[in-house]
Amino acid sequence: MPVERDDGIRDELLQRVVTELRRPVRLDPSVDARALREIRRLGAAGRPRPAQRPLWLAGAALAASLLLAVLLRSSGDIPVSRVASTIVAPDASTRPVRLRLASPASSRVAVVGDFNDWDPGATPLRPTEEQGVWTVELQLRPGRYHYTFLIDGRRWERDPSEPRANASDFGAPMSVLTVS
C-alpha cells in the first residue's frame, strides 16, 4: 500500500458529522412486505438460484480479459473508451488538459485524482518519444481538481508544474489543477 498513514478522524468538525450520521434511521417495516410480495410475484423465476458458474464460462471470461489486456498493452495507446468513461466524453463543456511527467526510471505511470475517483487503473500515462517523459490528455469540465501521479503502482509523485495542494497531509503529495 502506498499510503500507510492512519486516517482516523481527529478533528472536531468531522467527529460531529460522523456522530450525526450514525444516528439510527428507521425505515418503514412494510419494505419487507413489499419485497416478499415481489418475491412471490416472481414465483419460480424468483426462487434462489443454485450457485452455478460453469467452468467453461469462467475460463472463457478469463481468456477474453487476458486477450484484452495483451491487446491494450501492445497497442501502446490509451484506449479511448476507457478515458471517456472515467473522465468525461469530450463535449462543448469540456476542456482538453494534457498532463506530462518526466519520470525516466519508471515503467508505469498513472494519474489519480478527483476526475477519476482516484482509481489507479483508470488513467495510465503513455511514454512519449522524449526519453522518460509520460503524458496523457484528459477532457475535464471547468473546476478544481486534486490529483497526483502514481509511479509503478506504489509511489506517489505530485505534478511539479501545478500548485501543491494544501491538503497533502495524507502521505500523498497532491497538486491542484484549475480548469477554467
Binding site: 500500500m1 502506498p2 499510503v3 486516517d7 478522524i9 478533528d11 468538525l13 468531522l14 460531529r16 458529522v17 460522523v18 450525526e20 450520521l21 450514525r22 444516528r23 439510527p24 434511521v25 428507521r26 425505515l27 418503514d28 417495516p29 419494505v31 419487507d32 413489499r34 419485497a35 416478499l36 415481489e38 418475491i39 412471490r40 416472481l42 424468483g46 426462487r47 434462489p48 438460484r49 443454485p50 450457485a51 452455478q52 489519480v112 478527483d114 475517483d117 482516484w118 482509481d119 489507479p120 487503473g121 486534486h146 502514481l150 491538503a167 495524507f170 500523498a172
Partner: protein, 179 residues
C-alpha cells in the same frame, strides 16, 4: 426465532422457508437502511433501494458462499444498488435532506435541525464514490480491505476518496460549524 444465526436462516430460506428470509430482512432493514438513506438522501429512495436489494439477495442467495457472513454479502448488494440508483436519481432530482430518526429531545437547540440539514446537503454535494467511501469507513466502520472487496476499488483509491470526502465536508461545513 430472532436469535437464529444468519447461516441457519439462509439454510432455511434455501429450503423454501420464506419466513426465515423475513427474519433476515427485519434484522438488516434499518442497519443498512441508514447507509441507503445517507447515500440517496431521502427515506423513500432508501426504502426502494432496500426493497430491491432484498429481492436481489433472495434470488441470488445460492451464491452466498459464506452464509455466516450474510450481512456483509447483503451490504455489498445494497452498496451497488445505491450507486446505481444514485446515478439515476441524479438525473431526475436534487439530493434531498430528510431528517434521520431520533430527532433531538425538546431541550435541544433548534439550530441542531439546521446542522443536520447542512450535513445532508454537504453529503449530497460529494461525488457518489466519495460519499460511499466516507460512509462505509466512518459510519459503517468497515476496514479498507472489506471496503475493497465490497466495492471492487483498490484500497489506495478508497483511502484517497475518504480523505477527499473529509476535506470537502470540512470545507462545506466550516462556516456552519463555526457559527
Amino acid at each position: 426465532m430472532m436469535s437464529d444465526s444468519d447461516a441457519a436462516l439462509v439454510a432455511r430460506t434455501l429450503d423454501g422457508e420464506l419466513e426465515a428470509f423475513s427474519i433476515l430482512m427485519a434484522r438488516y432493514r434499518d442497519a443498512f437502511g441508514r447507509y441507503a438513506f445517507h447515500m440517496l438522501g431521502n427515506r423513500e429512495d432508501a426504502q426502494e433501494a432496500m426493497q430491491d436489494s432484498f429481492v436481489r439477495a433472495y434470488r441470488a442467495l445460492g451464491d452466498c458462499r459464506q452464509p455466516d457472513r450474510f450481512g456483509a454479502w447483503l451490504l455489498r448488494i445494497v452498496v451497488n444498488r445505491c450507486l446505481t440508483m444514485r446515478g439515476r436519481l441524479k438525473r431526475e432530482q436534487q439530493f434531498g435532506a430528510d431528517l434521520p430518526d431520533q430527532l433531538p429531545a425538546g431541550g435541544e437547540a433548534p439550530d441542531s435541525f439546521e446542522w443536520r440539514d447542512e450535513i445532508a446537503r454537504a453529503l449530497g454535494r460529494l461525488r457518489p464514490h466519495y460519499r460511499e467511501a466516507f460512509l462505509l469507513r466512518y459510519v459503517e466502520g468497515l476496514e479498507y480491505a472489506e471496503m475493497s472487496r465490497m466495492t471492487g476499488a483498490k484500497e489506495a483509491a478508497l483511502r484517497m476518496r475518504v480523505k477527499r470526502a473529509g476535506d470537502q465536508l470540512r470545507e462545506l461545513l466550516r462556516d456552519v460549524h463555526a457559527g
